[in-house]
């Protein structure tokens, strides 16, 4: 398979993720859409990696995975904290840092 196919698929997944961030209001789903975008980036990195003949892209993808895990942990912590304090889980209401 040509690398172009993988890159176009990665662009499609990224575009779906961007539309999700623009469409949805629930912070949980927005975090899921961020995951989609990070995974699209990972797919592009991995498709370039064998074409260049070295594994640097794969290591890069692994580090991206670690960063995504950190982002998920902190984001979900914020969501749980907001839910405990009865703050509505809607990104339109979560505009200010001190409400």
């Amino acid at each position: 398979m040509d690398i172009t196919w993988y890159l176009v698929l990665s662009a499609m997944i990224f575009a779906v993720g961007v539309s999700g961030v623009l469409l949805r209001r629930s912070p949980l789903v927005i975090l899921l859409c961020l995951e989609l975008m990070l995974n699209a980036g990972n797919l592009a990195l991995l498709s370039f990696s064998p074409s260049l003949g070295n594994q640097d892209g794969q290591v890069f993808a692994l580090i991206v995975m670690v960063i995504a895990a950190c982002e998920v942990v902190v984001g979900l912590g914020i969501i749980v904290a907001a839910y405990r304090r009865r703050i509505p889980l809607n990104v339109d209401d979560l505009r200010s840092l001190r409400g």
């Binding site: 990696s49 794969q58 895990a69």
Partner: protein
């Protein structure tokens, strides 16, 4: 054979991704993301990233998604309000996403990279195997590896502080 595997994986990936943003219940969105991640791991295997595919299944589809399922079940079904802060956002957003895809596709197909329409050079046996990736991580990319581990530690401490039962957040709300 490769084509069949690629298209099966691509259909799983795209279907999962669209289901994530189309389903109204966040719990089902999380399950759709698991489908997406597992299909993506299959594509990683096609791209000779054995270790990354395994890490994707174990770390992402396993650990991270368990965290998501737990939070989605804890928070429950949050009903999203139907009013729109920007008029017509529901119609503008997919159009913008489509425009972004068209732009990216033009950039990919119009790039001057010579190897982009080939399958790339044949790589040696053991490309992307755990031993090769581990050797790279502990030799050339040692600083990135250590920085990532430090970042994970900070994130874990931050999550405990944020979501703890008597965490710092509650204390500041009482005093301040």
């Amino acid at each position: 054979m490769t084509q069949v595997c690629f298209f099966l994986g691509a259909i799983g990936c795209l279907g999962g991704a669209i289901a994530v943003i189309a389903l109204r219940n966040p719990f089902y969105s999380v399950l759709a993301l698991i489908v997406h991640l597992i299909s993506l791991a299959g594509l990683f295997l096609l791209l000779q990233g054995e270790f990354i595919a395994a890490a994707q299944i174990v770390v992402y589809a396993g650990a991270v998604m368990v965290l998501y399922v737990f939070v989605a079940a804890y928070v429950g079904n949050v009903d999203e309000p139907l009013w729109e802060p920007i008029p017509g956002q529901r119609f503008i957003a997919p159009v913008l996403g489509l425009a972004l895809f068209v732009e990216l596709a033009i950039a990919i197909t119009g790039s001057g990279l010579k190897a982009i329409d080939t399958t790339g050079p044949t790589v040696e046996l053991g490309f992307g195997s755990p031993s090769a990736i581990g050797k790279l991580l502990l030799e050339r990319f040692l600083i990135a590896f250590e920085a990532a581990s430090l970042l994970l530690l900070i994130a874990a401490v931050g999550a405990v502080v944020l979501a703890g039962r008597h965490g710092a957040g509650d204390a500041t709300s009482e005093t301040g």
